[in-house]
Subunit: 428 residues, 4 copies
């Protein structure tokens, strides 16, 4: 969560949840927890610093629908007398967050704004959404145009000119904004230590097509998992399933949630007969039908890409579902492992369980949704910002970005700022 004040007007970008701070504890149900307890756990932003900021919050602007960007709205938004402004898909997911919230009643106005849209923020400023490309649809970078220059909030994105679903990143608009003068650029540093350029989603799609067509002649079970919110990937999985003569079917609570939302807002059109099941009972019913009608006719797309102990694929590995894996059955992980030892361990366990049942593993059929170093270089080149603030990582994660920015002439403490939770930075 980042708040930007220009004159008396304040805009808040993102209100996210740090899921790993929740999961490290046993048996926690965030839905019914109070904000302050979650703040103490480091799970949601400590927004108590906001009382030190003179000015009025005019908008809460989540950039995209991932939990680490919208997951605290249910806990914090009600404290601000301001609307939540977001792209249609993001807003749809915000709505679900608010519905699921069990402790607080969130009644902020919800305003839909498309990429390319603008709205006034007080008398002096304007908010603009620039289309970007990420591992979820509906991602934008919000720009706060102030009399002192533009504030570009750059979380989260890659530069993708062929994103499979939705429009390419609007680099042209970023260059225009750059020419008009950018006061500050806040950057997503998730992959800042990785060399080169993040490939386009079309590369992942091509890779997936290659993998799936290589299985065309296999007459047993094939199962895939990916990020449920990665609608472009789910779309590719659905499409290639049909190309190889199998009926795709989405299984697992979050599969139903994210794909359902995407369909509801018309962002994507799935085949009419595409089934999605979220509740365990209906999932199990679907599995039974698959077993009855023949595994070789189906292509289940399930949750569990990180080996989460309670997710569908892990349950399949444990033999807890009616779907039987046989020797030679294929499991496609169209997802990378989010780099943390906990995930590595759980994913390893899940793969072991699947292998014990005879499954063949196709992992990492995937490209990341975050810029690498050459993307960062391109963005700096396009925006030419006066100030840069790396974000979304710890110092280890920033280091590649800081080395890059330093070579481009920025200097730590002068126009390159490492900030952290609870910190206030005055630029003008």
């Amino acid at each position: 969560m980042t708040a930007v004040r220009a004159g008396d007007d304040i805009v808040i970008f993102d209100m996210g949840l740090n899921l790993s701070k929740v999961l490290i504890h046993d048996d926690i149900q965030t839905e019914r927890m109070h904000s302050l307890d979650l703040i103490d756990m480091g799970a949601i932003p400590d927004d108590r610093i906001m009382s030190e900021l003179d000015g009025d919050v005019r908008a809460i602007v989540p950039t995209h629908g991932h939990l680490d960007h919208i997951g605290a709205i249910g806990k914090l938004a009600h404290r601000y007398d301001a609307p939540v402004v977001a792209s249609p898909y993001t807003l749809e997911l915000v709505r679900e967050e608010i519905d699921d919230e069990g402790k607080f009643t969130v009644e902020n106005e919800l305003i839909e704004m498309d990429a390319g849209g603008t709205m006034a923020i007080g008398d002096r400023c304007q908010l603009e959404f620039v289309n970007v490309t990420h591992s979820v649809i509906g991602a934008i970078n919000p720009i706060l145009h102030t009399p002192e220059g533009a504030i570009v909030y750059g979380l989260d994105k890659r530069i993708d000119h062929t994103p499979v679903v939705g429009d390419p990143i609007d680099l042209k608009r970023f260059r225009e904004i750059g020419r008009d003068g950018v006061l500050c650029y806040i950057e997503d540093c998730t992959n800042a230590n990785r060399k080169g350029r993040t490939p386009s989603e079309s590369v992942a799609r091509n890779q997936l097509q290659d993998v799936m067509h290589s299985m065309e002649d296999y007459d047993g079970g094939i199962v895939a998992t990916t990020f449920a919110s990665h609608i472009a990937r789910v779309t590719s999985l659905v499409e290639f399933a049909e190309e190889i003569g199998r009926e795709p079917i989405l299984l697992g609570r979050s599969m139903e949630k994210y794909s359902g939302a995407a369909e509801r807002i018309g962002a994507v059109t799935f085949p009419n007969d595409l089934d999605m099941y979220g509740h365990r009972k209906s999932v199990d019913r679907a599995f039974k039908r698959i077993m009855n009608e023949g595994k070789e006719n189906f292509f289940p797309i399930v949750t569990g890409h990180q080996g989460e102990p309670r997710a569908m694929l892990t349950r399949m590995g444990r033999g807890e579902t009616p779907y039987d894996l046989d020797n030679g059955d294929k499991v496609i992980f169209s997802a990378g492992i989010i780099p943390e030892p906990t995930n590595e361990g759980q994913r390893y366990q899940s793969e072991q369980l699947l292998r014990m049942q005879g499954a063949r593993i196709y992992d990492d059929v995937h490209v990341s949704g975050h810029l690498r170093q050459e993307g960062h270089y391109e963005m700096l080149d396009a925006l030419q910002p006066q100030h840069v603030i790396p974000s979304h990582q710890d110092m280890q994660g920033y280091s590649g970005y800081i080395d890059l920015a330093t070579k481009q002439g920025y200097k730590l403490g002068r126009d390159l700022h490492v900030s952290s939770n609870g910190n206030i930075l005055q630029l003008v």
Copy 2:
């Protein structure tokens, strides 16, 4: 080098050079060295064991044109009264090896045979070439059909259904051969410890296209390097260079050699005006022309993908060529690092030198030419061989393959054989 005897007939598969055993010594010129010295160095196969084999060598069969498969032909082939049988591209490169050889005169007959072709080997056997896909064109897997079953020599390949240049791998034929009975399968284990499936060359092509199109608006220098023998990749580089409005130009001795050979045999048609220069003087002249006419109009494709100290790209990094690198100029490594600390060190040095001149590095725009575990699984499934011999690695490299084969029911010492240089194995 592997010799197979069936009755009195012997076929030799491959005669390669271990380049790292040469390079670890300073200032060695293999062209003028005697076979025995090279054998002592471990640089070429110790074929003295051949005298223990009763029978007549009927053919020497290199599978493809990489040096580690044909590089010892100049030193060893003359000892055998047998023709060299190879696909057209491989044979063209064998011809160059023989021409470059300075110590021995090689007068073996050179017989061209296409994928799909067959020839008699003595009275009882037949040699067949099955088309496979690898990081060089003209790769085949030779099959020796014997009365006791087929011997399938599986070096080197990946399973590629969309290989950009040339035909897809002929899995259908492998399955037929499998049904007819395979006595023994000798397998390329280069990537046997890697999970999943090696992507198709079309994925590398897509990745490369994505990278190169992202540079479309850049008005400075862009340089690329790749394996000179990787004709499909060179073709893609040439094609995308033109798509982004630049004149491709091949520079470096081996660039000229391999692409020239491909064009000569008609395997590929480069644009009429594509320049290739090998000798240092003509390369330097080309660089001067590029600098005069404007770097932004050219796309040099050069040697040096492993950071070899004397290759073109490394010389560019050192400022030893007339081509000046400026801040922001792009260098594309369309090649992985061949995993050995020496290469890692040299590549690192080369990248450092390039960065010191301001270059931006795009590395690993590449997919490997060797099967990973799921490809090995597919091949075992297609061939159902009685015996399996992992090859082309040390024990560490075989381990993933042996674990896989063991799970498929093979047993070390019974029908899964780990052999090594100078070893004789009797299967029937």
Copy 3:
């Protein structure tokens, strides 16, 4: 578990439990499970192959007290009419295994034999125990002297001339046995891919002393964890705790079990007033006393070195014990992470929890108990065996050993044998 037959006499070496095959399943209590179910899970050896061996089992010989060497005795030993022969410490732990067994009644005779001892096996053979050094006391290598030569069963050991507790490895005796003729050597390959030489326990002790003395002036909490069965290490921890003026105290079920057993058989003499508590209630009582009397006076040595979710240290990290961690408190992991992603993940989680409470982590104050490559080289040199069988790993783990043995002149399939579960190998 390895059975060796010489004439009609059979000796079984080790009967272990593969704990990771148990833990991958939820909520399994092995104590009450039937052997066949555990065999199916791959958790204990599948000894049904024994019916194919003509001859009589004369002895069951566990080499040392680790679970992966004695953990299946409760499930399998009762099937054989033979005594369990072991060193005193190992036998004491076998006794506890048998007592804890809830499904089968194990009534095999238990025979104690010290390192250096021998016993007749039938008329033709003799069993000898040679003293070795490992991460648990009482480790021996059993030798079966047969008319055809000695069978040396080499699991598990390092070469340690200064082992802190107990005698140095008896290399002199191994050399004598080598001179008399070794038919076969079965080797512990756990660290066979690691270069160099495993340091002595005295190096770990020195390292631990250095770490603990550096904390001498700290006036808050210091906690250590290590392998409960690593009596030499526990002894060092206890001793250095007193050197820095703190009362050591052993906490956790297995801490009490292994140290209690060591004391009972007189292998080690702990200070008279050293407290050990195993049951949760008495542990919590001890923690309360520590908090009351001042953390700065105590040095708890607890379970949890691998981050096991239910172990004492993990519970301390979760705040589930009466012991409060404060900023700056020290936690010493005198243990490496057993290399498996599951352990890496759990240990990471445990460290995170400890850090969240302010703890400072000192990890890897440890040396391994297994030979590395130069130790393997020394053993081969001492024994000069006719046949070698690498053991205790998968093929990936054997690879370093096979490369080493091959360089020493052994050849796979001839005198270097890779065996696996259920395999029979005839040497004479």
Copy 4:
């Protein structure tokens, strides 16, 4: 090189050479190069910023004798009208630097000051040397006592209470200085990303003793290499060589240089008959004598621990010296690899060459000379500085330190400063 100004008085700490910036170029002889060319290469500090500092340089203070701390004195010191003040061993090495310098005449006064000594710097300040422990003898941390508080220049050290040669680190004095008020602490971050505590030199010594005693019965060649300047290690090697009945002998130019200097100033007393040879001819003569009198009687200690292509051990691997390696001969690397791909590659090559001749490799018998995280924690605790400046790394290297300092309450840009070459920071 860091300059500190207090009032009108300036003290310069360190003037080092970045050797990797030199070695990346071919055939460069720094001795005859001009400062400005070396500055352009990034090989020596760009001290042109000094003209912006009002005040007089009162002293040039190298902290210890490593090249990256004294290697630019020959090129830069003559520009300042100030003495070089250093500990005896450091000063002896400075003298050699000045003698070897071929371009400039350095006539600065050389003042010897021991750890514990102080000298006035102008009217207001005092310079103090506090004894620290590092991988070279004679290392101190200089303190500039100013009216505004102490400036503690913390490069390079580990916290070692049992350093084998010389006195333990004077933590007591650091704590006193901390209590009196530290304005700024500049810290050596070489190992700031490594967990735990750097072991004492006594641990390395113990490890080395364990390795060497394990070779006691070997009757062939044993060779060791280490950092030539690491006098404590060289001393241990010499001592243990004699313990196992071999004559130690130091070979290689820098072996002679550093050990000779240490003996000259009386810092260490080697056995009377210890031979040291630096020039290639005398080294070769020594090797011939060793071969004549029997390798089993000698213990050559040679240069080449990083696999440097021209160093003695690499030449031995290439067979370029009269010393013949036989199968089973031992090579001890009492040194880690300085983590950079170039070194990894060269060291790998050197080990390959040695192995090709039959050598057995014992690597990493070593502990680092730099603090890890818990050492940094201890220093912060002892000094309680108002400001902290991480040093001696890039941003990636600082990241672990910044995360640590941040958790201790420091804040980037406020009291935690990331500086870089050519940067001026005003603290008061």
